[in-house]
């Protein structure tokens, strides 16, 4: 495989009259990810890292990675990191945060991990108002194990374990996590965003930032649900997959703020 001829190296291009508009966030590690091309896990990682940079909390951040495609997320962030058992990230994060109250602890979880096997742990972390932040990747499928039905798989969606399309009468209805967790008093921030285009990505980042601010202010449990794509298991190109997020997922999973406690609203207002 030939290496590239047109490698654009930094040294050639640094000019005093240019300013840096965007650079790779520091809270990301140098390691290359193993994600499939165009997988929005990468976008979510980047946004979190940007927020950690902006809040200046990389040094006190602790990531709890899930079991799912993002199982190795701790390799991709340059922060302390742990790998939880499938679904148990919020419990592990609870243990970490309780004995490290000054740190910034966040879990990063897929929909199989959080909504299916781990629903008890995330609900109870929210019930307790655990001061952690949850980044929740809803890609409507079990990515890592090869595309089985998730609790968030939408009606009629074909997966390897719902070969005729999800039949809600037999297998249940898509779960709305942001809404569900917003109903718990310990939750101070619960919103849904999407990663299907740049406008929505920018909005998603804002939400992630507020979610971490909620933790920094010691208010309680915060979660950002991100509608994401899995081009590989959906059998689509990355760009088609984002269109599918927009056209099929967003209508099912309305974007919005399901809970923002007053303290956060006030803070936002002041800015």
């Amino acid at each position: 495989m030939a290496t590239l001829a047109f490698q654009q190296s930094e040294d050639k291009v640094l000019k005093p009259i240019e300013k840096l508009v965007y650079e790779r966030p520091h809270a990301l590690d140098e390691t290359h990810t193993h994600y499939c091309p165009g997988c929005t896990h990468g976008i979510a990682h980047r946004l979190v890292a940007e927020v950690l940079d902006e809040l200046g909390v990389q040094e006190k951040a602790i990531l709890v990675a899930p079991v799912g495609c993002s199982v190795l997320a701790y390799n991709y962030f340059d922060v302390d990191g742990a790998e939880a058992a499938h679904g148990r990230a919020p419990a592990m994060a609870t243990g970490l945060k309780r004995v490290n109250p000054d740190s910034v602890v966040f879990t990063y979880q897929g929909d199989g991990d959080l909504a299916s096997i781990g629903i008890a742990e995330v609900i109870h972390a929210a019930v307790r108002g655990e001061k952690i932040t949850v980044i929740f990747i809803n890609n409507a499928i079990y990515g890592m194990t090869g595309g089985q039905m998730a609790p968030t798989t939408i009606e009629g969606q074909v997966t390897t374990s719902s070969p005729l399309g999800r039949d809600v009468a037999a297998t249940g209805f898509p779960m709305h996590i942001a809404e569900l967790l917003s109903g718990l008093p310990g939750t101070v921030y619960s919103v849904r965003r999407s990663l299907h285009d740049t406008r929505h990505i920018i909005q998603a980042k804002k939400a992630i930032k507020i979610a971490f601010e909620a933790q920094l202010q010691g208010l309680g449990f915060s979660i950002v649900e991100l509608l994401s794509s899995c081009p590989t298991n959906w059998g689509m190109t990355p760009t088609d997959a984002l269109d599918w997020v927009r056209d099929s997922m967003v209508p099912q999973y309305p974007l919005g703020d399901y809970k923002v406690v007053d303290e956060l609203k006030r803070k936002r207002g002041r800015k």
């Binding site: 590239l4 654009q8 508009v21 929005t40 285009d197 760009t239 984002l242």
Partner: protein
């Protein structure tokens, strides 16, 4: 229009085309060659030279392989010694 420039980390790029899709100026395209991972990375078609430095490509990139620069608009603008031109 502001003038911008992007630098792609070609070894990191997976050729997913999300940046191409995101670019309002249509100045990104896939290379014909492969990087060492077997992907065809993206590059900035510099001859088009219409990049505005809006950074939307970087916002869209899952692999954080895009660095974006923008020229600083200066009252007394003297033509910048373009690196691309020097190439």
């Amino acid at each position: 229009m502001a003038k911008g420039r992007v630098v792609i980390d070609v070894e990191r790029c997976k050729g997913c085309e999300l940046c191409i899709q995101a670019c309002p100026q249509d100045v990104l395209t896939l290379s014909d060659e492969f990087n060492s991972k077997g992907y065809r990375p993206v590059f900035l078609m510099e001859h088009e030279n219409e990049c505005t430095g809006c950074a939307l490509c970087a916002v869209a990139c899952p692999d954080a392989c895009i660095t974006v620069y923008r020229e600083i608009p200066q009252k007394k603008a003297r033509p910048a010694p373009s690196a691309a031109a020097a190439d």
